[in-house]
Subunit: 128 residues, 2 copies
């Protein structure tokens, strides 16, 4: 079982890679047979190839990610973060609560992102 | 499947009952065979009797509960809240992130509370 500090550090590293890493960098934080459900209730993606493909949607976008709150206990971390992407003249901001479980090796074994369309804000990146 | 509004309302009702309800009032929001794990990684309590017993620890305490952030999607809601209890001259504040799943009938089917001892603040309720 990871400690609270290890879980918290693992979340911080995930947020850093979300901002600065490639899809492969992010997917490398997941266990081989991990599951990803983003948002919760949508298709569950299983395995690192499917997970890499999911994050590839962020490649080429300008992404900033900020950790707002993180909690950890047992094998689980839950965190509220703000992810801002800029593309095509629009800034999109989303602030989900993500829930992750981890294996003893520190790799993510499951991720569920809890958010709905009302949690997304779109705006033009340049004043009209 | 509940809507996002229904999930959000169910969380708000849970927080209200945490503050103003009895253990039975709170447990009535759970499905008969629901599970409760608080904090995540501790013993899983199963069924409404075990869940009622868990909340009975709050009976007789002065409790305030404030919802800070809630997110919902699919069958799941995740929320950050502040729970403050006053007893024996001490005020205890804890701010967990809770994750709940719900059945189509609106009852909670599982709850996991993500927090660690570092997320608890104790202080005297009266100045020395």
């Amino acid at each position: 079982m990871l400690t609270v500090d290890q879980l918290t550090d693992a979340v911080a590293e995930y947020v850093r890679r979300l901002e600065a890493g490639t899809a492969s960098d992010i997917a490398a934080l997941y266990a081989d047979n991990a599951t990803l459900e983003d948002p919760a209730g949508s298709e569950v993606r299983t395995g690192r190839a499917a997970i890499t493909a999911f994050y590839r949607e962020l490649d080429g976008l300008d992404v900033t990610a900020e950790l707002l709150t993180v909690r950890a206990s047992g094998d689980t971390a839950a965190f509220h973060m703000r992810v801002v992407t800029t593309a095509g003249g629009f800034i999109t901001s989303i602030e989900p609560i993500d829930v992750m479980t981890f294996g003893a090796d520190g790799l993510i074994t499951s991720m569920r992102a809890i958010w709905s369309p009302g949690d997304i804000v779109h705006r033009r990146s340049t004043p009209a």
